[in-house]
């Protein structure tokens, strides 16, 4: 996993609350057996019309969304299905961070496992970001701060271990494999 230290980008806002992973990537696209290429199906049913043409009024289809790496979503993003295809699709589309006031548990875990940064913000800052899309912000992992265009810095929570993994590009499987002796001891004791 590549290290994630700082993300400086414009934002795209999707104010809908409770965005479930079925919206992020509908089930009909889950039959793939690799992680690549889900970006074109990201938010497929919101993004394209019945003929498969992009809907011009959908946030991700607007010209200023091009190149934006930060998604600002309404409260409780990622509820529902455990499909890791959701963060894969967001990353493949170009997102490096997702901002909300609430993240569903499994989605948040899946994001962190892939280096897609979940940024949990207070309601006031979040509301401001939703109301002011397409502005450039800077997210710094080491200091766990988000910096607004006027220089205001806002802290966000990030567990120490997750932060360490992001900053160093460490993947957790390596860490688990290093616990082999402890696992073997547990197995012997619980045979």
């Amino acid at each position: 996993m590549p290290a994630v230290t700082q993300i400086r980008s414009r934002t795209v806002a999707l104010p809908a609350t409770n965005i479930d992973t079925d919206q992020i990537i509908p089930a009909r696209f889950l039959t793939a057996t690799s992680k690549a290429g889900f970006g074109k199906h990201l938010f497929a049913d919101w993004r394209y019309d019945a003929d498969g043409n992009p809907k011009p009024d959908f946030a991700l289809n607007k010209p200023d969304a091009k190149g934006a790496a930060i998604l600002v979503a309404g409260r409780n993003i990622g509820c529902g299905s455990s499909r890791e295809h959701a963060p894969w699709a967001l990353q493949d589309f170009g997102f490096a961070a997702v901002i909300s006031t609430e993240f569903a548990d499994i989605f948040r875990t899946n994001c962190l496992k892939n280096g897609l940064l979940p940024v949990l913000l207070d309601e006031k800052t979040h509301a401001w970001l939703l109301a002011n899309p397409n502005i450039e912000v800077t997210i710094d992992v080491a200091s766990t701060t988000l910096t607004l265009p006027d220089g205001t810095q806002v802290k966000f929570p990030l567990e120490g271990f997750a932060k360490y993994c992001l900053l160093n590009g460490v993947d957790e499987l390596g860490f688990l494999l290093s616990k082999n002796e402890a696992i073997a001891a547990y197995e012997r004791a619980h045979r």
């Binding site: 919206q23 009909r28 690799s34 409780n76």
Partner: protein, 460 residues
């Protein structure tokens, strides 16, 4: 109870800097959320640590038409056929026991675990599927994981986890006649909201829960994730032990007695503190049905669509083609689905058939009945339930997830109302533009007869 199961599985305790290493007793797997995990293992030259604790089945993208399952007619969706083949290759290469498409033990992953007796009190159980919470009905700690974590468990039989908080749902009094476990869990989600359980393990307790069968308890725990909770648990008791006693993979003889003694110590100690608690009075409930695009948008079948000034709420009603104030029992129905890991067990089919017996589907209604497993299918056929469904005009299929998420091509047409016994009414869940109303098997069957959302108590 949660604390006891957690403590029993800690390999390395959590610290301020690192999460706990938690041992997993049972890893259930299926074709959709595993291929990329096996690719990862291959690329690192890793083997499966505990094939004896791993089981694979096919359920999500598999066909339900008999001729496609057994008759050699190819699976209609090419990529689904490839995914199914890939699971066969992976299971063979890594030495995983697999119930393939034609296996008589195959079924939805959360139906077959309990059926086989692999789901047991006190176990830690994971699967790359959010409805793994189902297995908590036995007093197991069971939760859904993503594909990266599937890889972790395949390679190490462990997961890195922070300890969640606990949330007691005290269900006082008993459910009135004609009100089901599905109605209760929908009411609970309506009360605490779709993110009310985030960060918690739920424990359902109280007289109404104790009176439930295992099938009903599974319906309850299954939908814990729809309240945002990764896991839901119910204390094991005589009902649990009776269910497991003669299952193929439950302990036998002296091992059984030892297991029951161990399991009997799992329930939460009197006076134990939960991080959060709420009370629900079962006696006040009526059959429930969802009207919106998440499971928390739920109302009594006897009620009307509520109103709200919220733009997201209005957008949901617009998608559903419903208006605030509309009487729920006047919503027309074109599609009915009975099945899924929520309500695809034998007792669910019995209840739907009980309402449907001697009736025909209303004109214009299409009904699909999909047993949760091949074992459920055989048992239902032995009782003649398939004949009840077929005589009414419904289709009777092979087992699988089917129309719950429509991955296999079993879809609800755009704009159609679908009364479904499944667990999610998200936009497009049952097909692009499909309008899903979640309900119990009884409500689904009653609605199929009338061609509109119907209170099943009219058929008692």
């Amino acid at each position: 109870m949660f604390e006891k199961v957690w403590e029993n599985h800690v390999v390395v305790p959590e610290t301020a800097d690192t999460p706990a290493v938690l041992f997993i007793d049972l890893h259930l797997t299926h074709e959709v959320t595993t291929p990329q995990a096996y690719t990862e293992l291959r690329s690192r030259g890793l083997r499966l640590r505990r094939p004896d604790l791993t089981l694979a089945t096919m359920d999500h993208s598999t066909p339900t038409r008999t001729e496609q399952v057994f008759g050699g007619v190819p699976i209609a969706v090419d990529s689904a056929a490839k995914q199914v083949q890939q699971l066969e290759i992976n299971a063979q290469e890594f030495g995983v026991e697999l119930f393939n498409l034609q296996d008589s033990r195959r079924g939805i992953v959360h139906i077959i675990g309990p059926e086989l007796g692999l789901t047991q009190p006190g176990k830690t159980i994971v699967c790359g599927d959010s409805h793994t919470s189902t297995h908590g009905a036995f007093g197991a700690l069971a939760f859904g994981i993503g594909t990266t974590e599937v890889g972790h468990v395949l390679a190490t039989q462990c997961l890195l986890q922070r300890k969640p908080k606990t949330f007691a749902i005290n269900v006082v009094n008993q459910l009135p006649a004609g009100v089901t476990a599905k109605d209760l869990i929908l009411a609970i989600i309506g009360k605490i909201g779709v993110s009310g359980g985030t960060g918690y393990v739920l424990e359902y307790r109280g007289p109404a829960i104790e009176a439930m069968s295992m099938d009903e308890r599974m319906t309850i725990c299954n939908m814990s994730i729809e309240a945002g909770a990764r896991a839901g648990m119910i204390a094991p008791d005589a009902t649990t032990f009776e269910y497991l006693r003669n299952t193929p993979r439950a302990p036998k003889g002296a091992d059984w007695d030892a297991a029951v003694a161990r399991w009997s110590k799992l329930p939460t100690d009197p006076g134990a503190k939960f991080d959060r608690e709420i009370d629900i009075d079962a006696a006040t409930l009526v059959p429930m049905v969802t009207y919106g695009t998440h499971p928390g948008m739920v109302a009594p079948v006897t009620g009307h669509v509520p109103s709200s000034g919220d733009a997201v709420f209005e957008k949901a009603l617009q998608y559903m083609g419903l208006a605030a104030g509309q009487i729920i029992s006047e919503v027309p129905v074109q599609n009915v689905f009975v099945g899924s890991c929520t309500n695809g067990r034998l007792s669910d089919l019995r209840k739907a058939a009980g309402v449907l017996r001697g009736h025909k589907l209303a004109a214009g209604v299409k009904m699909l009945v999909v047993p949760g497993s091949q074992a459920v299918k055989r048992a239902a056929e032995a009782e003649g339930l398939d004949q009840v469904f077929k005589s009414a005009g419904a289709e009777w299929r092979e087992s699988g997830c089917s129309m719950c998420l429509g991955m296999n091509g079993d879809l609800v047409p755009a704009g159609h109302y679908s009364v479904s016994t499944s667990n999610r009414n998200f936009e497009g869940r049952q097909g692009k533009g499909a309008r899903t109303l979640l309900a119990s098997p009884e409500t689904a069957a009653a609605s199929a007869i009338r061609g509109r959302v119907t209170d099943p108590r009219e058929f008692v």
